[in-house]
Amino acid sequence: MKTAMVFSQITLASLALSIPAWGQNPRLEISHLDKLASKASEVVDVTLDEPMMKLASKFMAADEDSDDAEARELIKDLKGVYVKSFEFDKEGEYSQADLDAIRSQLTASSWSKVVGVVEKRSGEISEVYMMTEPVNKKVLGIAILVAEPKELTVVNIVGPIDMEKLSSLEGKMGIPKIDLGKEKPAKKPTGGDDAKK
């Protein structure tokens, strides 16, 4: 799939440019965002460290759902999954300082930005970061930051996660599929002047 190829190329390019650093820690500090919960209309707060991941995986193994099997394969070596997602009724409920506290962790260490989009008109930021081991390029963790006027989401996955497999979970496990803008096939001619000829 062309999209996957381009995605992979971006990933490889980012990896080639990544500067190894000592003391790599793929776990982000995001607890400062907890104060936003009182202002949010919707909150998702997930903190699953390694023991809880093992417990979750064990219970997924008990299910015969094939989608769960795929998720289980994805998470099997993960050390932690951390999500803080807030939806607000109005804009301006989180500050630039809240964002900077996260981004400073991502730019000052051995994280590499895989893809980043800044929409100047709306001020929306969507960024995906990856941390890898300097020598063998094994993935140590990923971070996803999405900041919209009325929503702030931070996802931090610690451990060797396969981003393509994570991406392919959409359409399964109740995750709705997002149209990634694949080209539609050309329409067949329906008659008209051509038919009269």
Binding site: K58, M60, V81, V115, S126, I144, L166, M173, I175, I178
Partner: protein
């Protein structure tokens, strides 16, 4: 989509009793009069049992019952913890996948919109 009944089962799942409950119950029982023998006494071979022994046997039976209920609750608690962890993980993966793909979509969208020269 989680339906209402699933939400009710999740919200109303058993809460563990506080650890001091068994002690508090036993403290109240110790001030109670002796029991009449019941089904639990048929397991023993007591023929003539002083009143105090019946009270203690009853208290022990109740302690075992309460202890058994607590153990059952613990097993239920472990199960509910596991189910909750699983649900949280699935939610986390759902959000991660959605945001990842959404970011990618935003990245490729301007490229798609650019008309060929």
């Amino acid at each position: 989509m989680p339906d209402l009944e699933s939400q009710l089962r999740s919200a109303l799942k058993r809460k563990c009793a506080p650890e001091n409950l068994a002690d508090d119950v036993m403290a109240r029982i110790s001030s109670q009069p002796a029991l009449k023998p019941g089904w639990w006494s048929r397991a023993g071979r007591l023929v003539r049992v002083p009143r105090m022994a019946w009270a203690m046997a009853g208290a022990l039976a109740l302690a075992l019952i309460v202890g058994g209920i607590v153990a059952h609750h613990r097993a239920e608690l472990d199960r509910s913890r596991g189910e909750a962890a699983k649900a949280q993980l699935k939610e986390a993966l759902r959000i991660a996948s959605t945001k990842l793909n959404g970011t990618w979509k935003k990245a490729v969208e301007p490229v798609r919109r650019t008309p060929p020269s």
